[in-house]
């Protein structure tokens, strides 16, 4: 080696230099770690459960009287719906007049299959005979494919549950022509969706800290997170595992013992408890029978160009529902549906109980009755709240930007379906609290209404220093929002029995106050909540069972003297078997 070759740093020098540069790069990367490798947002942000309450009461000023009747929306849908701009961009043959209507595998589509006499466009169908157009029902089970076909103008209709529409709407509304317009509810899921758990879970509360698997962006996600929020559990307190389909969620639950619960569809939710030891159904839409609404939406440009076709679709589906009351026609419809799905007729028939078709009267209740605790507006807002809190949607779409009840109003004026009655109203027989309690509640929700001392009036006004009531004030200004929260839960769990249990604090314990008086006060308060719910939202009074516990059951056994915590009302949802 010559001297010239040794010019430059020694190997050690090189190593030090390299280490120095690496340290600089590493230090810079660490310093700018939020820029280089941001952790993203919406990961595990705690949900403000009180915001749930506030949001739910937003659409109404506090109602000091607490008594209202059925009230219909008075606005004209066209004024709130986003106007359609530009040239319509869907495929349409004005001679053949075939509406492309994709559907998924779901018994709720039976009325349209019946009305259409099968899946293919038919001259025998109600749609052709009475309204002069044809319908092509296509099986597109994958919601993403269905959505893309809708956006591309290949299909005029998009199938989906209302919660799917909440997620799809913001993107679809970027183009006013593909904005979804919802004219009709097809059905309520009624046992078709459910939560299956392992044996150690008895109530929604037990899910805290457990692992749940379900299909993301599907009704399952709405179902479970709505349950958790209603039970006062932060979604971040549960370990969520996501799959692409409900079928995979069920398969994952069966194969992986570390997963404590799954949300899936029939028939899996009924098959798992039969086949896998130590599993049971926690709750299904058989109880939460007004939670998941199946609807269809039309492209805004198509609806604008072809109002008669839309009207024909809505009316034809209602007629299909009516015709299905004939057993022989119903058997035929099962056969058509089986052919369309490539299944056996009895397999289709086995799905019969998964959904309840909503007739004209029930659609009117859903779309038009502003006081219905489970109407379109409340369902849409509730979904929006849940999904926004989970960080799934940024700018939500308003309910009146997608809901169009103009066709229902037209049909109402024409009186075509005036004879149809609401067939989906559960009647309750009186039952005692002791009997209801025999079964574990599905979920328990604690609400807090600030009662004026010794008063059971939930609409008690504020009082001045001398104790005189101040008119047009409320002692608890958020009482309407609190009632709304309970009403929505009770509305979603239309078939379940709801226990309203009043509790008082123990501040006067041992100060000459008789226990039975305190119990009576807590019972009166529970009764006041019940009365307010029944009068405002028209619930069956027997749906609510009241109980006054006095100061016997502190909210937190470890902190029995927390009086503010103890002055409360607990709402417990019991499965209908307890009736």
């Amino acid at each position: 080696m010559t001297a010239e070759q040794r010019i430059g740093p020694t190997p050690l020098g090189k190593l030090v230099l390299v280490l120095f540069v690496l340290a600089l790069v590493g230090g810079a990367a660490y310093y700018f770690r939020d820029v280089v490798m941001p952790s993203g947002k919406g990961a595990a942000k705690p949900v403000d459960i009180d915001a749930f309450k506030a949001q739910q009461g937003k659409f109404e000023a506090p109602d000091a009287k607490g008594i209202t009747t059925v009230s219909e929306y008075t606005y004209v849908p066209a004024e709130k719906l986003p106007p359609v701009k530009g040239v319509s961009a869907y495929k349409w043959d004005p001679v053949a007049k075939v509406v492309q209507f994709p559907i998924n595998v779901w018994i709720g589509w039976l009325p349209i299959v019946a009305a259409n006499h099968g899946f293919s466009p038919s001259t025998e169908s109600i749609f052709f005979k009475e309204y002069g157009f044809k319908v092509n029902l296509k099986l597109i089970d994958d919601p993403v494919v269905a959505r893309d076909a809708f956006a591309a103008g290949e299909s005029h209709i998009l199938w989906g549950t209302l919660d799917m529409m909440v997620l799809f709407a913001p993107e679809l509304m970027r183009d006013s022509r593909t904005a979804p317009r919802i004219f009709q509810q097809i059905d309520w899921s009624s046992g078709g969706d459910g939560v299956v758990v392992r044996g150690n879970i008895h109530s929604v509360k037990d899910l805290k800290g457990k692992t749940i698997v379900y299909a993301q962006n599907s009704p399952s996600q709405y179902f479970i997170n709505n349950l958790l929020l209603n039970a006062g559990i932060q979604p971040s307190q549960v370990n969520h595992k996501y799959t692409a389909t409900a079928f995979e969620a069920a398969a994952a639950f069966v194969s992986d013992k570390r997963i404590d619960a799954c949300v899936s569809w029939a028939p899996d939710i009924y098959n798992i408890p039969e086949k896998v030891a130590g599993t049971r159904i926690l709750t299904t839409t058989a109880e939460a029978n007004k939670l998941i609404a199946d609807v269809w939406a039309a492209r805004a440009d198509f609806a604008k160009d072809h109002p008669q076709v839309i009207k024909g679709l809505v009316a034809g589906i209602f007629k299909g529902m009516e015709q299905l009351k004939d057993p022989s026609f119903r058997a035929k419809a099962f056969q058509w549906m089986a052919e369309g799905y490539g299944m056996q007729a009895d397999e289709v028939k086995a799905m019969e109980a998964d959904a309840h078709s909503t007739n004209f009267a029930e659609n009117k209740e859903f779309f038009l009755n502003a006081n219905n605790p489970a109407n379109f507006e409340r369902t849409w807002k509730n979904i929006t709240f849940v999904y926004r809190e989970l960080g799934l949607i940024a700018t939500p779409v308003r309910f009146d930007e997608v809901m169009d009840f103009s066709v229902l109003q037209q049909l109402d004026r024409e009186g075509v379906f005036a004879h149809q009655r609401d067939e989906y109203r559960t009647t309750f027989a009186p039952i005692s609290y002791a009997k209801v309690q025999a079964e574990a509640p599905i979920l328990t929700q604690t609400i807090r209404i600030n009662f004026y001392p010794n008063s059971a009036n939930i609409f008690e006004p504020q009082h001045d220093e001398l104790g005189n009531p101040i008119p047009n004030t409320l002692y608890d200004p958020s009482v309407a929002a609190t009632l709304e929260k309970v009403a929505r839960l009770a509305g979603q769990y239309e078939r379940a029995v709801i226990a309203v249990v009043g509790h008082t604090d123990s501040s006067m314990k041992g100060r000459g106050v008789r226990e039975q008086d305190v119990k009576a006060l807590s019972l009166d308060r529970a009764n006041a909540v019940k009365k307010a719910l029944v009068s405002k939202y028209k619930f069956d009074p027997n749906k609510f069972i009241v109980e006054g516990k006095g100061w016997d059951v502190p909210a937190d056994p470890d902190d029995p003297l927390n009086h503010a915590l103890n002055r409360r009302v607990e709402i417990a949802v019991y499965p209908p078997e307890a009736r």
Partner: protein, 296 residues
């Protein structure tokens, strides 16, 4: 330059003659702009390569041009414009933790690849070396090559659960199916001359494998690994559909459902970019390891 002038000169020489007179004369063929196996300067490679990409980009811009969504040829609910895709990048980077998800996906692909190499490499070399082993495993390998493996997702799900294990196993399966035949072919293509020479020199069976077949086949095996590494990205969407969480596949799946559409296309572009860069890294490594292959 020389060639051009000489051909021009030749043309000049031929022209005065009677048509057809030059046919018998041997002369270099006329140079056209499209030559068989001509050598190109680097800049031409770049320019010619960029043209179709720019053309595609122009087509994309054209199809999505227009003031309002309604004026566009393709609606933004299907395909957003290149600009919209570009400006949504910060949101993808910051709000949706692009780098972390990228690392997760890359980690899955790399782990699956490592597992696959651990299996495909020894089996492939054995199959390439020993005819009986080849006879035993070839049908299986052919079977695998034609298997639509997406249909196996539910099976791997019930065997390996929903966690990382299933993702790695599934990717490894895809890699093995691709790598095995290539490894076998690499060993197969080693010229008999080398083997015969080795035997003449007294090599034993394993020595022939270790000192002859393997060293000669190395460069081809490496080439197979390089090509194979890209395969994992084709399946990333499929494996990340199960237990959707971190990962680029998860971003695409979620964006298909609730948007923004821009992120779908951004992630697709990103996957291509990452695959391109890793391929360049493989190529650089290859040049270091097998300098004698340079130019092949």
């Amino acid at each position: 330059m020389n060639e051009t002038t000489s051909s021009a000169a030749n043309e000049g020489a031929v022209q005065p003659g009677v048509p057809g007179a030059g046919q018998g004369v041997k002369q270099p063929p006329r140079r056209t702009w499209l030559e068989i196996r001509e050598s190109l300067p680097a800049w031409q490679w770049w320019v010619l390569g960029a043209l179709p990409i720019l053309g595609l980009l122009a087509l994309w811009s054209l199809a999505t041009a227009g003031g309002t969504p309604e004026e566009r040829w393709i609606s933004p609910t299907i395909l957003p414009s290149p600009w919209e895709v570009l400006v949504s990048f910060p949101e993808l980077w910051f709000d949706r933790a692009l780098t972390r998800n990228l690392l997760v996906s890359f980690g899955r692909v790399a782990t699956g690849f490592a597992v696959a190499v651990c299996i495909a490499f020894p089996v492939g070399v054995l199959m390439g070396s020993f005819t009986k082993i080849k006879a035993a495993f070839t049908p299986l390998s052919v079977f695998g090559a034609y298997l639509p493996i997406p249909a196996l997702v539910p099976l791997t799900l019930s065997l390996f659960g929903t966690g990382e294990g299933q993702k790695v196993v599934f990717l490894a399966l895809a890699f093995i199916i691709y790598l095995l035949p290539l490894t076998v072919a690499a060993v197969d293509s080693v010229d008999d001359v080398y083997l015969k020479t080795a035997y003449t020199l007294g090599a034993r069976r394993w020595q022939a494998v270790r000192k002859v077949l393997l060293p000669v086949a190395w460069a081809d095996i490496f080439q197979a690994l390089r090509l194979g590494f890209g395969v994992g990205w084709s399946y990333i969407l499929l494996v990340e559909m199960v237990d959707i969480g971190r990962g680029l596949g998860g971003i695409i799946i979620v964006s298909q459902r609730r948007g923004p559409r821009e992120h779908i296309y951004l992630v697709l572009l990103l996957i291509v970019a990452v695959a391109f860069l890793t391929d360049k890294a493989w190529a650089a490594l290859g040049r270091r390891l097998f300098p004698y292959r340079e130019g092949k």
